[in-house]
Symmetry: C2
Subunit: 114 residues, 2 copies
DNA sequence: TTGATACTTATCCATGCGGCTAACTATAGT
DNA sequence: ACTATAGTTAGCCGCATGGATAAGTATCAA
């Protein structure tokens, strides 16, 4: 019964956690093995791996195993996709008075507040 | 026993839901009463109000009641705060080869892959 | 003043999330 | 071969989330 999840849902959900954001911030500097990524956190490894899993299934990072070491790398494209959403909103916000009707309605709203 | 929540946690969490993102996209065009915002969704009003509550406590929107009508307005500042995080990551990503050590380590990583 | 409108409050429910431990697997080093 | 390392798998737990319904409140319109 899985409901369809939009890409932005999983991306934003992945970023709504300080540990996961910090991992992204670390990977932005370059690839790193799981062990190194996990080191700063007072958390059991399986718990940490779940975070990696969330980031990976959101497409924000990729990982591959070499011997016993799994190395994670950032996928900046997904980061860009999320950023794009904000840009779009900003664009709409900037043009919210583009047509005169909107402007007039807004002005009326302001003067109605007596 | 609430754990301290960082602002970005609540902002990203608020945006990790298609209904809430759509509300933001609507409010970017200008303020609107709850009833109008809720109209497109096949959802009970109390459920919808929870989404409004999430957006509001994340600081993404504000609302005030006039008579029986509660009007919501966007707070573009919080949107900008989230966007800023992406810009920071992008900046780090762009400068990841700024010092020579990083570059060399990376090149070595590439050639090791035989 | 009666009724409709626009929320609001209270309560419930299933699922998902973030953490844990314990036990297992596979590789590297000695 | 043995041991340490680096993940992995499996299962458990408590709380938050996203939905629902039912009933209450306050305001506006006739």
């Amino acid at each position: 019964m899985d409901k369809y999840q939009e890409p932005l849902d999983t991306i934003f959900h992945a970023l709504a956690d300080p540990t996961r954001r910090a991992v992204v911030q670390r990977l932005v500097e370059g690839p790193a093995p799981v062990k190194e990524l996990a080191a700063p956190y007072d958390m059991a490894l399986p718990s940490f791996m779940k975070h990696i899993g969330v980031l990976e299934s959101a497409g924000l990072i990729a990982s591959q195993k070499q011997g016993r070491v799994r190395t994670c790398t950032l996928n900046p494209g997904k980061l860009a996709a999320a950023e794009k959403w904000f840009e779009e909103q900003r664009a709409s916000w900037a043009s919210r008075f583009d047509n005169l009707d909107n402007l007039l309605t807004s002005l009326q709203g302001e003067t109605d507040e007596t």
